[in-house]
């Protein structure tokens, strides 16, 4: 299905957030996530089903002021 990942429409095979993170190579990466502008804790990723058109944000620690 096609979902939006960090602003880019992307074809994915997995249908859960945890599955998509694995598929994209984040696996054990230090990332946090939101789906459709709502935060999804790491522990809830496995039970978070995704639907076509969902907007997923994947963020990591970065420099800030």
């Amino acid at each position: 299905m096609m979902i939006e990942i960090n602003g880019t429409m992307t074809e994915v095979r997995a249908d859960t957030l945890a599955g998509v993170l694995d598929e994209l190579g984040h696996g054990d990466g230090k990332v946090a996530t939101a789906v459709n502008e709502t935060f999804v804790p790491a522990a809830a990723r496995g039970q978070t089903a995704l639907a076509p058109g969902d907007r997923v944000e994947i963020v990591a620690p970065r420099q800030g002021g």
């Binding site: 190579g25 946090a32 970065r62």
Partner: protein, 256 residues
């Protein structure tokens, strides 16, 4: 200095952005003696793993981390960003920015109060990036904030304390609230002035990161902050309009 019950040994808080290299950043932090570093969250591409590299860098600085919601323009965006930052950095602290104006990066006071309330109720300890407005400060305290971070000037301008009267009024109005002058500082003398006025700390980034020698500038700010705090406690003299000789007049030789 106590912030949300945590003892912080430095009155200088430093950002981690815009340094020429990671090693310059680390050296600047070493010489700044900063106790708190601000950080952010940004989009990560799968193979990039930039987040892990940066995480290792800041962890090694040995300072307390204060994640921000920089660049957020809505309450929803700021709240979600704060929640993601809490998980990533494993802290309830959040420097809350809800930006209301693109050119001045001025806070949106209405969104700021609303987001501060939501985050406080969700267990966050909020450091709101605010203006010198005393009414807004009062609302933020009502919303549960225990620290205020008034701007000196718009972010990244280096203009220093552009509204001395307003900052002095804010400081006097809430004498027991820890206050950090955040944003707009360009020179150590401006940081010293903030501390002389009774502000508890300063937070800066660009002034150090964009200096020709960031590490030297970091040390200059560290000394300025220390001098300013010392001067505040030393009870400065009152300024006056007319000159008053400092050398005794009595006993001067009479020579015509």
């Amino acid at each position: 200095m106590q912030l949300y019950g945590t003892e912080i040994n430095s009155r200088l808080m430093l950002g981690t952005a815009q340094y020429p290299s990671p090693s310059v950043l680390a050296e600047a932090f070493r010489r700044s003696d900063a106790g708190i570093a601000t950080v952010s969250v940004r989009r990560e591409a799968g193979a990039e793993r930039g987040g892990a590299a940066f995480w290792n860098l800041v962890r090694d600085l040995g300072v307390t981390l204060l994640p921000n919601t920089a660049g957020c323009h809505s309450v929803r965006e700021a709240v979600t960003t704060a929640q993601m930052a809490r998980e990533l950095f494993d802290t309830n602290w959040i420097k809350l920015e809800v930006i209301g104006h693109a050119d001045t990066l001025q806070p949106d006071p209405f969104g700021l109060v609303e987001a501060a309330r939501i985050l406080t109720e969700d267990g966050f300890q909020v450091y709101p990036y605010t203006t010198e407005d005393v009414v807004l400060a009062d609302r933020l305290l009502d919303a549960g904030c225990e620290v205020l971070m008034p701007w000196g000037a718009p972010i990244g301008t280096g203009l220093g304390l552009t509204n001395i009267y307003g900052l002095r009024t804010l400081r006097a109005q809430f004498p027991d609230v820890p206050m950090v002058v955040d944003a707009g500082l360009g020179l150590p003398s401006q940081a010293a002035m903030a501390l002389e006025m009774g502000f508890d700390a300063v937070l800066l980034n660009t002034a150090v990161a964009k200096a020709g020698d960031p590490a030297a500038m970091a040390e200059a700010f560290a000394r300025a902050v220390e001098a300013g705090r010392l001067a505040y406690h030393a009870d400065p003299m009152e300024p006056r309009d007319m000159a008053a000789p400092s050398t005794p007049v009595i006993g001067k030789a009479f020579l015509s």
